[in-house]
């Protein structure tokens, strides 16, 4: 289930920048006086995907589906339980912390809350100089200053901002500083973990545009983790939808938003309120809540809320199968004859 899983015909020959195979992260639950393990939270339970150079892949899903855990496991903020992470043809999940250090330069990260991810006691200069010094990218002070000025230009902040403290900036400006820090090591991949979710509408648009410009300018690949489907649709190339620790559908943007092949994707899309009064849309309101990842349902994990669930869904776990070129979905409906498959519709022609 590696590269064969997703459509790579456009990039034949070149290895993908990042490849994740069957990644798992289970958190033990400790209880009692002796701290015995009484169970596991199956936060991420077998996730595979790849990202090409210069491509944006978005991970979407509701809270608790494991999308942030995937990002953190890739960064090795905690060790994954199982699975492989391959960066540019080299396996990095089994490296020691020391061996990993030079590789960390190649992956930048921007977190959700720009207020808590900048050290309030460090000037912007020091915040940005830390990665540059760590990776030995500047030989002397003059070179460092030059890099800092370049970073400020990239994120469109005034150059003299480097002498100021984080509290002197607004939320949007701080997020720009976070982006500058992520770019300081000249990475190939940036992981944006809900990077625009905490921002106001007008500022959000500024940051989204900035990220898109940086991507074309620097040829960055991006893993864009978000729950905001409209923003995702606006800026992504491909989308992976997660539910309870698994990817239920992965597809290019247009196929996923135009003709979703998993009932969860379909419901998720129909649940987003659209800023168009009187828009007549058929809404699928899912019943109940997401089950606990401590004890995920047997069979298909979505069957407890799925409007189309039938007997097989309660016992067999569906695997990701290709339904359209490049579009993969984990749903038994696609084994049924087309007439009885409610998700069999095809993509509407482009206007």
């Amino acid at each position: 289930m590696s590269t064969s899983m997703t459509d790579r015909s456009a990039h034949r020959g070149l290895p993908p920048l990042l490849e994740v195979n069957d990644l798992k992260k289970h958190f033990p639950i400790k209880a009692g006086f002796f701290g015995n393990t009484t169970g596991h939270v199956y936060a991420v339970d077998g996730v595979s995907f790849h990202i090409e150079k210069g491509e944006t892949l978005s991970l979407v899903g509701e809270s608790g589906c494991g999308k942030s855990t995937v990002g953190k496991a890739l960064l090795r903020l905690f060790p994954p339980t199982a699975g492989q992470v391959v960066l540019d043809g080299k396996r990095i999940d089994d490296l020691s912390q020391g061996q990993l250090r030079p590789i960390r330069r190649r992956v930048g990260v921007v977190f959700q809350d720009p207020f808590s991810s900048l050290n309030p006691r460090m000037r912007v200069k020091d915040l940005l100089a830390e990665p540059i010094r760590n990776y030995g990218l500047a030989k002397n002070g003059a070179e460092l200053d030059e890099r800092l000025a370049k970073l400020m230009d990239l994120v469109r902040l005034p150059r003299d901002a480097v002498t100021r403290w984080p509290h002197e900036f607004s939320g949007g400006q701080r997020q720009r500083i976070c982006i500058a820090r992520a770019l300081a090591g000249e990475p190939d991949l940036i992981i944006c973990d809900e990077a625009v979710s905490a921002l106001d509408v007008s500022v959000k648009a500024q940051i989204v545009n900035l990220l898109q410009d940086l991507q074309t300018q620097l040829g960055l690949a991006m893993l864009f983790i978000s729950h905001d489907l409209a923003i995702v649709e606006h800026m992504t190339h491909r989308v992976a939808v997660m539910y309870l620790g698994k990817i239920v559908e992965i597809a290019p943007r247009r196929s996923l938003f135009g003709a979703p092949k998993h009932p969860y994707t379909e419901a998720l899309l129909s649940a987003v309120p659209v800023p168009e009064p009187g828009a007549s849309r058929q809404r699928i309101v899912l019943k109940g809540d997401v089950p606990s990842p401590i004890n995920p349902p047997k069979g298909c994990r979505f069957h407890t809320r799925c409007p189309y669930a039938f007997d097989r869904c309660r016992t067999d776990e569906p695997e990701l199968k290709q339904t359209q070129p490049g579009q993969w979905a984990a749903c038994h409906l696609h084994d049924l004859p087309e007439a009885s498959n409610p998700l069999a519709r095809s993509l509407p022609a482009a206007a």
Binding site: E62, S63, S170, G172, D200, V201, S202, V203, K204, A205, Q206, V208, N209, Q212, H227, L229, A230, I231, E233, H234, M235, R253, R254, F257, G258, A267, L268, L269, S270, A271, V272, P273, V274, P275, E276, P277, G278, A279, R283, V285, L286, D289, V290, P348, A350, A351
Partner: protein
Amino acid sequence: MALLEVENLQTHFRTPDGGVNRAVDGLSFSVEAGETVAIVGESGCGKSVTSMSILRLIPEPPGQLAGSIRFQGKDLLKLTEREMRAIRGNEISMIFQEPMTSLNPVLSIGQQIGEALRLHQGLSKQQAEAKAVEMLTLVGIPAPDKRVKEYPHQLSGGMRQRVMIAIALACNPKLLIADEPTTALDVTIQAQILDLMRDLKHRVGAAIVLITHDLGVVAEVAERVIVMYAGRKVEEANVADLFRNPRHPYTQGLLGAVPKLGSSLEGETERLAEIPGLVPSLKQKIQGCVFASRCPKVTELCREVAPALEEKAPRHVAACHYAEREAIAA
């Protein structure tokens, strides 16, 4: 007479350094019985302070309220604290954003719903519990007779927000203020809660003031919309007019900054419209138009003279010198 009439409301806060923060600066609007009015704007525009001001939840000092808030003809700003308490949770109630922090963790759900009933309607403990079960059924919580004895930590986020709605509706309020009721929830749960609010509105008939920053939620729920910026109202219109034909440059910017779902189906997506710059500080009195520093159409006039709220089309007001104006039939 409208159910709620807010006139020239000014909520100012004294800051420790001796300045004044004009969080809400001369806001007027009204809400008819049974109507849903949305107040939208970005953080710091004064929308939440407005809702807190209506219920007089602003601590004084440092807060300072001026103007008038007439609810069914009574000026709420002139009532004593005791009279105000008789209104809170009874005739006007509120749903807050964060259901986890607004429920009391050490009281059962039933006690929390029953509290308002016992205080305002003088029900006994048993009657209150029976009514609490009824309310939980109304907001669609399964097995309500069991849930009524449970505590907030035993419920999921969506369930907690349902409980908050049950508490707010327990005394059949005439006005319900919902401050970002679905912001903390996931989309599928948000869809459930919005459906519930729409359904309950028909059944209970309360007027709703919905405070939100999510234009999608506004489009789905509201009948009339007030756009706030830097403590002032910049535009007001019914929901269809506002989205189809926004008159104020700020509203236009706001609508352009939100990507629409389904945008990728029509070929390449366009760049999002940005509103450059930042919201002005509310600590200085703003001369001229509040939006002047970020407006693409700004002129000298805007920096000097604050535009008045004018009717630019029937029942569509905007505060802009240059907003397009439709001939209004006499």
